[in-house]
């Protein structure tokens, strides 16, 4: 069960400029694989190559043992059993929402359905929209219908090209829970292209970071995010994700205690987390500072002991990224190079990590 893709593609993109996509990729055959990178790095092109919408000079694509593209053979897009959610509205304007769903149902492969029509309508909450034309739907509603339509074609692989990018924050918040349900309830692999790290941290199991047409890093989300080279490339987005279990809530101070493989974290209790639940939390490198002594006189609640494992230059000349081991997990901390020198930090040094903020992403 895996997706193996190798693509080479080169074209002129404007005056004297050329774009090269050179990718050799292996993704697991289940879960959400996020393709992350700045705009223009080739994420969408890669997705289009997988879908067969983009001609390539050299390509090889095997999906769970099936050959979609290899040397001479190249399945045209309409023969590939995949669902594709486009970045912007892609509903057929001459059909109602129901008509758009029927378009997919009529052409779905006759295998065991990924999801029934009623389930898809329920999952995406579009029951009340079916009689309307795309022009009468909001951006978020259109995108939900488009996602349902992509599922009803009965895909063995779901490709999503920044499905939230064209939406404002409120609409993003409206759709994200649906995407999470999708991820939890469907048994097909999803390749999710995004340039927003918060979406990726929330949805992805696997992460592929792309830079200028090639893969800069790839692997399980937590591992890739804890890597220093990836951290430098992510800039402000550098940080790790942790799986943490809710242990108790402190009703007096409205705080929640969460246990992770590196110790305990206290978080503001927003009432959403119940004890026993496992959540995914994100700790940004810029929110972690380092001290040599545990400060008792600090307002920071979460102070954890750790050991520096490696140090790398940050994304700008003033900063450095420090990776430390806290219990069994890695944390990233972004500090200034001056502090690095001043505190004489080096691999093996024991430090205290002061964590200013933790975001629960799931």
């Amino acid at each position: 069960m895996a997706l193996e893709a190798r693509f080479f593609l080169q074209y002129a993109a404007g005056a004297g400029d050329s774009f090269t996509l050179n990718v050799d990729l292996r993704l697991p055959g289940r879960g959400v694989s996020a393709i992350f990178g700045p705009s223009g790095c080739g994420k969408t092109t890669l997705l289009r190559c997988i879908a067969g919408l983009q001609q390539v000079q050299q390509g090889r694509l095997h999906i769970n043992g099936e050959i979609w593209q290899d040397g001479r053979t190249c399945l045209p897009a309409h023969r590939r059993p995949l669902g594709y959610v486009f970045q912007e509205a892609s509903l057929f304007s001459h059909l109602t929402a129901r008509g758009n769903l029927d378009y997919a149902l009529k052409r779905a492969t006759a295998t065991l359905p990924v999801i029934s029509c009623d389930e898809a309508v329920e999952l995406l909450g579009i029951g009340g929209l079916l009689a309307r034309f795309p022009a009468q739907l909001s951006g978020g509603e259109r995108q939900r219908v488009a996602i349902a339509r992509a599922l009803l074609i009965n895909p063995r692989l779901l490709l999503m090209d920044e499905p939230l990018a064209s939406l404002d924050l409120a609409r993003k918040r409206e759709i994200l829970p649906y995407l999470e349900r999708l991820r939890a309830e469907l048994d097909i692999p999803i390749v999710y292209v995004s340039h927003a790290m918060d979406e990726v941290a929330r949805l992805a199991d696997q992460l592929v970071v792309m830079e200028r047409g090639s893969v800069a890093a790839g692997g399980p989300l937590a591992e890739v995010l804890a890597g220093l080279d990836c951290g430098a490339a992510l800039g402000e987005d550098a940080g790790v994700v942790l799986e943490a279990r809710v242990v108790e809530t402190d009703s007096r101070w409205h705080l929640t205690r969460m246990a992770f493989a590196g110790g305990d974290l206290w978080l503001r209790d927003d009432g959403a987390a119940a004890p026993g639940e496992t959540l995914r939390a994100r700790v940004l490198a810029r929110d972690v500072s380092l001290t040599l002594e545990p400060h008792r006189d600090s307002s920071i609640v979460n102070i954890l002991p750790g050991e520096i494992t490696d140090i790398a230059p940050g994304s700008d000349p003033a900063s450095a990224l420090v990776r430390l081991k806290v219990g069994e997990v890695a944390l990233l901390s972004r500090i200034t190079r001056r502090s690095l020198q001043h505190l004489q930090l080096a691999p093996g040094r024991r430090v205290w990590a002061q964590i200013k903020s933790v975001a629960i992403v799931r």
């Binding site: 919408l53 309409h78 892609s90 001459h94 022009a135 739907l137």
Partner: protein, 231 residues
């Protein structure tokens, strides 16, 4: 009304001609319009220019060359003769062929424009929904370009009804065969039968006005349905 038997024959002939030409142009013009809308070939420019030629050429020029081509010394004429059909000038089908050329841009260009406006994306979407090329054409392109087809049919029909020069060059003036309304009016005027000419001429004015009125109202409505609500 001041319509004589001959007038009615001319009207019926005109409608038959315009109907035949419109149907043939829709059938033949659609693939050409599709090609023009999609191709990146260097032939797009020349072919598009040829399609547009009848817009600027005097109908007499068009008629003259068609007359030569379909006559006994022309390639088309020799071909039709070999097939046993005879020569086409001064026949109904000769008029049909002349009108096909004459009205061609009025049918092809609206369809081509509408197809270009559909764009690449709906076709890609349809491909990811397992629609093959033919399926995509009939379930996405045709319905989305529908206003273009309607405009094309109306303009093609109306323009053929209003044809005069080409008819005169290759059709002549044979009652029931090539004497269409415009030629009939010309005949009335030549014969100083102004009252008769008025009857037909007024009918043409009303017809043309109604057609254009419908077209503009329809286009405005088609445009309005594109308004987006919400985000």
């Amino acid at each position: 009304m001041l319509l004589s038997e001959a007038d009615l024959t001319a009207i019926w002939l005109t409608l038959r001609l315009a109907g035949t030409v419109t149907i043939l142009l829709l059938l033949l013009g659609t693939p050409l319009a599709w090609w023009l809308a999609r191709t990146r070939s260097r032939w797009k420019g020349p072919v598009g220019a040829v399609v547009a030629l009848p817009l600027v050429l005097p109908p007499t020029v068009l008629g003259f060359y068609l007359l030569l081509a379909m006559g006994p010394n022309g390639a088309v004429g020799q071909f039709t003769q070999a097939l046993g059909i005879g020569y086409l000038p001064f026949t109904f089908w000769g008029l049909v062929i002349g009108s096909l050329f004459y009205s061609m841009p009025f049918v092809i260009q609206p369809i081509q424009n509408a197809m270009e406006a559909v764009g690449e994306r709906p076709l890609e979407v349809a491909a990811t929904l397992r629609a093959g090329p033919w399926d995509r054409f009939f379930t996405v392109v045709v319905p989305q370009a529908r206003p273009g087809f309607i405009t094309a049919a109306i303009l093609g029909f109306a323009h053929t009804v209003g044809e005069f020069g080409v008819v005169l060059m290759i059709g002549g003036n044979i009652p029931g065969e090539t004497r269409v309304v415009s030629v009939q009016i010309y005949d009335h005027v030549e014969a100083m039968a102004y009252a008769q000419a008025h009857g037909l001429a007024a009918l043409m004015v009303v017809f043309s006005f109604v057609v254009l009125l419908f077209l503009y109202t329809f286009n405005r409505n088609a445009h309005q349905s594109g308004i987006r609500y919400g985000a």
